[in-house]
Symmetry: C2
Subunit: 111 residues, 2 copies
């Protein structure tokens, strides 16, 4: 993808039947902007990033943000920040597709 | 704001009559997640960030992304990445409020 340009995230989602689909909208050493695409029932298990902060923004659908010891219902338009070292994940508990923008700073490729 | 928690961006917007309103959702040396709130007619002039990449995501409303020599119509759900050194701005050309999430990596405070 060439930048700057208007990005319609849903047009870049990768949907997979076997697991969460991932795609990249932008990547530099400083910043990774990606999409996590969850069919109904799919999830991204609790994980954490050393030295990286993560922003989630729910583009489409609804489900749960997974955190250490708790789960938070979320829907399109909601965001969540997992600062470095804070475990986080996502589960699509709904009957429809869930698309989440995932922003990491710095980029994992810089490590 | 305490993190991680579910964030509804519109609840944190700061609207001003005199100029674009700015608020911060999260800030670390690695990442700044903020909101730019534009009443009809308000704008953020073309500017650039040395050594920082910026992601815009349109939360609510519609208007224009300003770029060097061009303007791109945008609306809620659209995103744009301005890599470091690429001039960018926003103008609310609509008759309704325009709310844009602005993500910078690394944070200006780290410079």
């Amino acid at each position: 993808m060439k930048h700057p340009a208007v990005i319609r995230p849903a047009e870049h989602a990768e949907w997979r039947t076997d697991k969460m689909g991932k795609s990249t909208l932008f990547e530099s050493p400083r910043l990774l902007v990606g999409l996590n695409a969850f069919e109904p029932g799919q999830s991204h298990a609790l994980h954490e990033h050393a030295g990286m902060d993560k922003l989630y923004y729910v583009v489409e659908g609804e489900g749960l943000f997974l955190l250490e010891g708790t789960e938070l219902p979320m829907r399109a338009g909601d965001a969540l920040v997992a600062p470095e070292g804070v475990a986080h994940g996502i589960r699509n508990t709904s009957g429809a597709r869930l698309l989440v923008m995932a922003v990491l700073a710095p980029s994992p490729s810089a490590h």
